[in-house]
């Protein structure tokens, strides 16, 4: 590895160019006990040298363990950070941008909204139920750490095909984990996504987004200040579960042996969740914050106590002494480095002034939450940064002493090589539009229909009586309300989206299209798109093709965010989604938060009403409208994964969003709109079918020339059912958006003239039975 010390807006931090694979820059190779201690911890030889340089001496075993977890890819973003800097993060409503536990925006009338998205991919691949459950628990802590009450969770999920027993086991486990934890902890799961594709067979993706609300004045940051203040560990006792979760597990791929031995061996790296503990922890922490009893709070997630203590100290510019003997343990005989790096769930660190300690303890006792003083804030030495010291008793021997900021901020940054995949040009040229047309486009349409109700029926999606549009809509819509907030008419909308098949072919335009689609989805429910969070699920960063995909995706996302005026307020990178050397398709997931000033009526939703005219807003015949590149029809029906995805015109897209926001609200002035649904996976055909299935009303449309126009997924289009097509088209014309009437909602058949004629009852049977047919049968046989 070369030290070229290039800098690009990163202060004086060195950025290391990496020559290529096999340079030992990460620990994805099999870990063996014969290796040097630092390598077992996932650190490279060069990183060991960097640690020596920071300390000016050889690190001891405990110190090495601290750096091992904190400098892991998962915690340090060392491969992605130089690219993430290119995302726009500023906006008028942004209160807290990336880098804190969650992004926060101003929602008006003294209310703020906190949002974060994370992945729990690797744990879920190994132990789906606990992996997914602890993903929910972790994201909730990130939200209430900011002083916000979590009011909604969304779960984008990606699996291999349901014809494989292991995939069904994963789906069952992940859904049971989210359901079991989320329902019990008492936060509604209001939406998500469900994608099946063979590329996820060995690497399922489990992303989780959480939104919280808070009075603006309760906003707190995870900071330690004031020498002499106390670090109080709240919640569960610390055990050996989850040690190395961020380093050994999440910062390496799976070798891909199919005998299960590898995943079985990594199972102890997965944490175990207790939603009842978390529920009491949430209530206790919010009560502490409301009463002004804490200086700062920080959740313990990946990398456990070392992460929480070093980050709070570094942000506050102070040091901290941590007494490992004061940490309540689940089992005897834990070594100091195990205590510091354990990822035991349901723990928080509160920074408390000594005079408030008794009141903090009283609040915790009422909620039956354990509270133990484990640390003290210390002044930094006059000539240097604050020191994180690990002590064996507050007056006992020093086990470790490292600059706190060096753990969280001095991890090496890598400029890894990028390479456009060699086969890409051939793939882009291989147009699925040239495939023979279907004998029966109606039959193909039906195979693309899946009702996700089997999943969301298992999630409490109505708790807090805020859910106006729950799972299954274009976006979830919630009243922006919680105990302690003054009542308003404000609402919030949330959508998560992805387009991995497009991103595999063109990560730049694919990522731009994801932002565009998520923003359009919240517009379809009448919300003004306000902010973006992203979860970047990629393969092995040591593969130059993967880094090229990441770099391109970030540029595409950036272009779309700038064009649509949306700041990125937080994100997460999940690398090493690979098995046996095969990377997943690049899967950036985008969450968009939209705001509604006056939520007085339920949005029209994905439906038709008898006699309504059906209008397509956006171009039905223009650029890309007949393009099947990366479409669900090409990939899922024909197994053809190549082609060039349709282009996106971001200026036209913004005009469409501005028009649709007004149509997504019922009542006077919405041009008679009674149903609305964006065109995405499966094209106009699937959009129309979902509107029919959502309402039990059929349709008869014409003017769709062939299967390419029916299934093509060109962005920037919305299907609208309206009782007043003239005024709708007039409004569209005034907004610079093309529109045309293609037919009428009526009857009990899905009819596209010359292409499709299917009975609604037949389509419904397939749509409803796809998931229960595959998954309930499994339950019956197990």
């Amino acid at each position: 590895m070369t030290d070229d010390t290039a800098t690009d807006g990163l202060g004086d931090r060195a950025v290391h160019a990496v020559s290529g694979p096999g340079d030992g820059t990460a620990g994805s190779a099999g870990v063996s006990s014969h290796q040097a201690p630092h390598r077992v911890l996932g650190l490279t030889d060069a990183e060991l040298s960097a640690i020596r340089a920071v300390l000016g001496r050889e690190p001891n075993r405990v110190e090495l363990a601290l750096y091992g977890v904190m400098w892991s890819e998962h915690c340090s973003y060392k491969s992605s950070r130089i690219h993430l800097r290119r995302l726009p993060t500023d906006g008028p409503g942004v209160l807290v941008g990336p880098g804190e536990n969650a992004g926060v925006i101003d929602a008006g009338e003294g209310i703020a909204v906190a949002v974060r998205i994370e992945s729990h991919n690797h744990p879920s691949a190994i132990e789906p139920k606990q992996g997914a459950a602890t993903g929910v628990g972790g994201i909730l802590r990130d939200i209430f750490t900011m002083g916000a009450r979590p009011i909604a969770v969304m779960d984008p999920l990606f699996f291999g095909g349901l014809d494989d027993a292991r995939q069904r086991w994963l789906v069952e486990g992940v859904v049971a984990g989210i359901s079991g934890y989320g329902n019990s902890v008492g936060v509604p799961t209001v939406g998500g996504e469900l994608t099946f594709d063979p590329c996820y067979a060995q690497n399922p993706l489990v992303n989780v987004l959480c939104l919280g609300v808070l009075p603006v004045e309760r906003l707190v940051l995870g900071r330690a200040t004031g020498a002499g203040n106390l670090a109080v560990l709240l919640g569960s006792r610390t055990g050996r579960d989850g040690i190395g979760g961020v380093s050994v597990l999440a910062s390496a791929g799976f070798a891909g042996e199919d005998d299960g031995s590898e995943t079985a061996a990594k199972r102890p790296n997965v944490q175990v969740g207790d939603p009842y503990e978390e529920k009491r922890l949430i209530e206790a922490c919010l009560e502490l914050l409301d009463a002004g009893l804490v200086v700062g709070v920080q959740d313990l997630g990946g990398a456990g106590l070392v992460c929480a203590t070093s980050e709070t100290a570094a942000r506050g510019g102070v040091g901290m002494d941590v007494d490992v003997t004061a940490v309540p343990l689940r089992e005897a005989g834990m070594a100091p480095d195990e205590i510091m790096t354990s990822e035991s769930q349901e723990r928080m660190l509160a920074i408390v002034t000594p005079e408030h300690l008794a009141r903090v303890e009283a609040v915790c006792a009422r909620w039956e939450v354990r509270a133990s003083v484990v640390g003290r804030v210390t002044d930094p030495p006059p000539d240097g940064p604050g020191i994180l010291r690990v002590l064996d008793g507050f007056d006992g021997p020093e086990l470790a002493a490292v600059p706190a900021a060096s753990l969280s901020e001095d991890a090496p940054l890598y400029r890894r090589p990028l390479r456009r995949p060699a086969e890409l040009d051939a793939r882009l040229a291989d147009d699925p539009g040239l495939l023979p047309p279907p004998d029966d486009a109606g039959a193909d349409l039906v195979t693309l229909l899946t009702d996700p109700a089997w999943v969301y029926r298992q999630y409490d999606h109505q708790l807090f009586t805020n859910t106006v549009v729950g799972p299954g809509g274009d976006a979830a819509v919630l009243r922006l309300a919680a105990p302690g907030l003054r009542p308003t008419e404000r609402g919030v909308a949330l959508s998560t989206d992805s387009k991995p098949r497009w991103c595999a072919l063109d990560p730049r335009s694919g990522a731009a299209a994801i932002v565009a689609e998520a923003a359009l989805n919240v517009a379809c429910v009448g919300a003004q798109p306000a902010a973006v969070v992203n979860c970047l699920n990629f393969g092995n960063p040591e593969h130059p093709e993967v880094m090229w995909q990441l770099s391109e995706a970030i540029d595409g996302m950036s272009e779309a965010c700038i064009a649509l005026g949306l700041p990125v307020i937080g994100g997460n990178v999940s690398f090493y989604n690979e098995s046996g050397g095969r990377d997943i398709d690049p899967t950036p997931v985008v969450g968009v938060v939209g705001l509604i000033d006056q939520l007085r009526t339920v949005p029209p939703g994905i439906r038709l009403t008898p006699g309504a005219s059906i209008v397509v807003l956006g171009s039905l015949t223009g650029d890309g409208a007949a393009n099947l590149g990366g479409s669900r029809w090409a990939v899922e029906v024909r197994g053809h994964r190549d082609g060039t995805p349709p282009p996106i015109d971001l200026a036209a897209h913004r005009r469409l969003i501005d028009l649709v926001v007004g149509l997504g609200r019922q009542g006077a002035g919405n041009a008679g709109v009674v149903g609305i649904h964006d065109v995405s996976g499966g094209g106009v055909g699937v959009t129309l079918a979902e509107m029919a299935l959502g309402s039990g009303v059929g349709f008869e449309v014409a003017g769709i020339a062939d299967h390419r126009m029916l299934f093509g997924e060109a962005p920037s289009r919305v299907v609208v059912a309206t009782t007043d097509p003239e005024s709708l088209l007039a409004r569209a014309g005034g907004a610079g958006v093309p529109g045309q009437v293609i037919g009428v909602a009526e009857g009990e058949r899905l009819v596209v003239e010359g292409l499709v004629d299917v009975a609604l009852t037949d389509a419904r049977a397939v749509w409803q039975n796809r998931l229960p047919g595959a998954l309930d049968e499994l339950a019956a046989n197990s």
């Binding site: 329902n183 009842y276 529920k279 029926r457 999630y459 409490d460 109505q462 708790l463």
Partner: protein, 235 residues
């Protein structure tokens, strides 16, 4: 005087604020009652809301039955006070012996969250007084253990004494006789799995729950010696 409703909170309860919002919207006042509270003095009626009291450890309601407030609820009920247990609250009432039978895991062994149709079967309870039997309501359910079961003699008594308060119109979770809610022999203690507070506003897709909560608040008003809330805002 608006009736005053006590809303019981065990650690792990999570629907308490939803119930408070719904009954306040109907003109009542409400207060949260912590699980260690030994008395319900000052309240005209009591709601045990949904959630996961004590994490549902052992089984739903099994630990909550030992809480001081549960003894206070039993006393309040014995004195004729109106009590309704919703979802987890219903489970607590059966564990505490205030209602017969038990709630086992749903047929199909999955959690179910969806809006279902229920039918008023008896007007002889504080939750349904004044409603016509046969009235259909759209109310959300949200439970894993909502499959009501009891022995044959209990079922015969429930039927014979007109104590089956609400039934599911279609079979949803395996409950015997499609039972969604029952009451005690006095009609003043009701348990039901559906969540009326989740059907309390047109924005939530149904306000049918207000009919049940309204009847309950009327019973509370009668218990307090006050007048009916029938003219109160929000009805």
């Amino acid at each position: 005087m608006a009736p005053r409703i006590g809303v019981v909170v065990y650690p792990g309860t999570n629907c308490e604020h939803d119930v408070v919002r719904a009954v306040e919207q109907l003109g009542a006042s409400a207060g949260l009652v912590w699980h260690t509270t030994p008395s319900l003095a000052g309240y005209d009626a009591v709601v045990l809301p949904g959630g996961f009291a004590h994490g549902d450890y052992l089984r739903p309601g099994a630990l909550a039955r030992f809480a001081p407030v549960t003894a206070a609820v039993a006393e309040f009920a014995a004195a004729g006070g109106p009590v309704v247990g919703i979802c987890n609250g219903f489970q607590v009432l059966t564990e505490a012996g205030l209602l017969p039978g038990a709630l086992q895991k749903n047929r199909g062994l999955r959690f179910i969250c969806e809006t279902v149709e229920i039918e008023v079967s008896s007007a002889g309870s504080v939750l349904t007084a004044g409603m016509a039997p046969g009235t259909r309501l759209r109310i959300p359910i949200n439970h894993f253990e909502g499959n009501y079961t009891c022995d044959g003699q209990t079922l015969a008594e429930l039927r014979g004494q007109d104590r089956i308060v609400v039934r599911y119109v279609d079979e949803v979770n395996g409950s015997i006789d499609r039972i969604a809610g029952i009451c005690n022999s006095g009609g003043n203690v009701v348990g039901l799995m559906p969540h009326p507070e989740r059907a309390s506003d047109p924005l939530l897709g149904s306000e049918d729950g207000n009919a049940l909560l309204g009847a309950f608040l009327d019973a509370a008003s009668r218990a307090s010696g006050g007048s009916s809330l029938a003219g109160a805002p929000g009805r």
